[in-house]
C-alpha cells in the first residue's frame, strides 16, 4: 500500500505535513532534515525541488530555493541523497516541484527514480489535470507514484469535485488566493470553501499561510491536517527546527 494511503487510514486528525526545499539550508541537509522531522512526530514531508522561477511561491520559498540552487542542488543530486533514505525514514515522502525541471529530467526516468528511492507522491502545481490525465496518468500508475492536486478558493464547485476525485492520496487545499507564505486570514467565505471537504471522500490537507499552532488547529477543524512550509523554513534558517515542530504539535 502507498504510504500516503496508509497514513490517512491510520490517522484521521491533526496530520502534520512539512515542506522544505532539498539542499537547504546546506547542500547535504536533505536527509538529516527528514530524520529530524520524523523523530519529532511529523506525519509526512514534501521535499521541494528547487526551481529558478517558482511562480506560486512567495519571497521566503523563492529565497530558500535560490539558496539551495546556489548550494549546488540538482535533481540528480537529490535522488543520490535520497538513495538510502528508506533505511531510516518510514513516513510518506512527496516531491513538490515545477513541471519544467521534471520534464527536462525526463518524465519516465524521473518517475522511475522516484520509485527507486521510495517517493510516494508528487505535487506539481503547474501541471494541469487534463494534461496529466491525457499523457502521464498511466506512467505514474506504473511506478506507483501518486499525483496530488491542488484546489483553491476560486475553484468552482464542479471542478472542486473533479479535482477531489482525480487527486491521489489526498487533496491539497490552498487556504487563500495568495502565493505561499502569506498569513491566514479567516472568513465566512473561507469556511464555506473549507466545508466543501465534507462533500468529498478524498482526505484533505490545508496549506499556504499555516504558520503556527493556532493556524494549524484552525485548519484541522476542517481538514485531516495541514501543511507548513514557509514558517518551517524560517525556523530552519534560525536553527530552531526542532523547537518549531514541538510548538506546533
Amino acid at each position: 500500500m502507498n504510504r500516503i494511503d496508509n497514513l490517512f487510514q491510520n490517522k484521521k486528525q491533526d496530520i502534520l505535513s512539512i515542506y522544505f526545499p532539498a539542499g537547504y539550508p546546506n547542500l547535504n541537509d536533505t536527509v538529516s532534515n527528514l530524520e529530524l522531522l520524523q523523530k519529532n512526530g511529523v506525519d509526512m514531508v514534501e521535499i521541494g525541488i528547487p526551481f529558478s522561477d517558482p511562480l506560486a511561491d512567495g519571497s521566503a520559498i523563492q529565497a530558500a530555493s535560490k539558496q539551495a540552487l546556489d548550494n549546488g542542488m540538482t535533481l540528480s543530486l537529490l535522488f543520490e541523497q535520497l538513495s538510502s533514505v528508506r533505511k531510516t525514514v518510514s513516513i510518506p515522502l512527496l516531491l513538490m516541484g515545477y513541471w519544467n525541471t521534471i520534464y527536462r529530467y525526463g518524465v519516465d526516468l524521473f518517475l522511475q527514480d522516484c520509485q527507486k528511492v521510495g517517493i510516494d507522491g508528487l505535487i506539481i502545481p503547474d501541471l494541469p489535470l487534463e494534461e496529466f490525465e491525457e499523457h502521464y496518468k498511466s506512467d505514474f500508475h506504473k511506478y506507483g507514484i501518486y499525483n496530488v492536486l491542488l484546489a483553491c478558493p476560486e475553484t468552482d464547485e464542479a471542478r472542486f469535485k473533479n479535482l477531489a476525485n482525480a487527486s491521489q492520496g489526498f487533496l491539497y487545499l490552498v487556504s487563500s488566493s495568495a502565493t505561499t507564505g502569506g498569513s491566514l486570514k479567516t472568513s465566512e467565505k473561507q469556511k464555506d470553501y473549507f466545508n466543501r471537504i465534507k462533500m468529498i471522500e478524498t482526505p484533505s490537507l490545508i496549506g499556504f499561510g499555516i504558520a503556527n499552532r493556532n493556524n494549524f488547529e484552525y485548519a484541522c477543524q476542517f481538514a485531516n491536517g495541514a501543511i507548513v512550509g514557509t514558517a518551517f523554513i524560517k525556523a530552519l534558517e534560525k536553527n530552531q527546527a526542532q523547537e518549531f515542530i514541538k510548538d506546533l504539535i
Binding site: 522561477d53 511562480l55 519544467n100 527536462r104 501541471l127 494541469p128 484546489a151 488566493s177 502565493t179
Partner: protein, 390 residues
Amino acid sequence: MNYQIDNKGFYGKFGGAYIPELLRKNVDELQAVYLDILESEDFKNEYARLLDNYVGRPTPLTFAKNLSSKYQTQIYLKREDLNHTGAHKINNTIGQILLAKHLGKKRIIAETGAGQHGVATATVCALFGLECVVHMGALDVKRQAPNVARMKMLGATVIPATSGNQTLKDATNEAIRDWIANPHSFYLIGSVVGPHPYPDIVSRLQSIISEEIRVQLEKEQNTPNPDYVIACVGGGSNAAGAFYHFLDEKAVKLVAVEAAGKGIDSSETAATITIGTTGFIHGSKTLLMQDDDGQIIEPYSISAGLDYPGVGPIHAHLAETGRVNYISATDDEALNAAKTLALNEGIIPALESAHALAALDKMQFKKNDVVVVIVSGRGDKDMETYITHL
C-alpha cells in the same frame, strides 16, 4: 500546414496553459469568452476607432530611399515608432483594455521590460480610468528611468521586481504572483507569451501591422505581398503581428531577428530559438534558455525589450516548421544598424528594432526585391545607451 492556434490552445506541440490551479478560473474565463469578444462588432468598431483617432494609425509604410540604394534593393519601413507612446505595444494594450472593460475588471496588472509595454498599459488605464500596477525588474527601473517617470505621470504604480536578474522574466513572475493574489484583477500581458489564450489574443491584436502593410504595398507595388518581412523577436509580439497575414502566403519570406547579445556562444545572449530547448515558462510550453537541470538561464541583451529567456509559442512552432527563418544580431550589430538608419533616413530606432535592421547586413537581396523591415519603436528611451556606445 496550420500556423495558427488549435482548439486546445496549441501551436503544433507548443503553447497550452501550464498554470497553477490558483489562476485556472481566470484563464478558463478568458479562454471561454475572448474570441466572441474580439470578433464582436462592438469590439471591432471601438478598437478601430481608438487605433484611428487615439493611436494615430495607420502608421506609414516609408520607402527608405537611401537605405535602398545602399543595399541595392527596395526597402520599406513599417513605422510602428510613430504610434502614440512610441512603439507597437499600444496596439495590444488598446485591445486588451477593451477586453478587461468587457469583463468588468477594475484593476490592471502588467509586466514590462524596457518600459514600453508598461507605458502603453498606463496610458490605456488612464484613458479608461482603471487602476494600473506595473511590475518592472529593479535593474530595468534603473536603466529605463524616463519610462518609469512616464508611467508614474500617467498614474500607474510601478513595483520593482527584486527577484532573479531583476529584468523582464522576474517582472513577469511578479505580475503572475500579483494576479494569483488578486484574482479579480486583469493581467494585461505585453507579448505573445503566457498561458493560452494570451499568445493568440496578442497575435490577433498585433496583426493590424501586417493587415496595413498589405493595403499599403498594394498601392505602392500593385501587390499586397513583399518578398521579405523582417522583424525583431524578444517575446515576439511585433513579429507575430507583422507575419500574421503573410503566414499562408508562401512566396513571402519571413525573417525574425533575435538578440544575440555578446554572441550566441558567449553565454551572454537572449537568442532563445537559436540556443533554446523545449520547456515551460510563464504558463506556456515553448523554447527557452535553460540548463541541463531545467533551471532557466538569465538572458542578456543590450536591449531591455529583447532580454527574455523564452519566446512566444507561435515562434517556437514557426521555427520548428521552418516557416520563419530565425537569425540573430549582436549588440554591436544592432548599434551599428541604429546608427545607419539615423544617418541615412533620419530615424532613430529603438534598440529592439535596430536588431531587425541589422539583418540587412546579413542577407543578400535582388534589386527588385521588396523588403519590409518593422521599426517596432522609436529610440528616445535608448538615448543613454546610444550616447555611451556610439
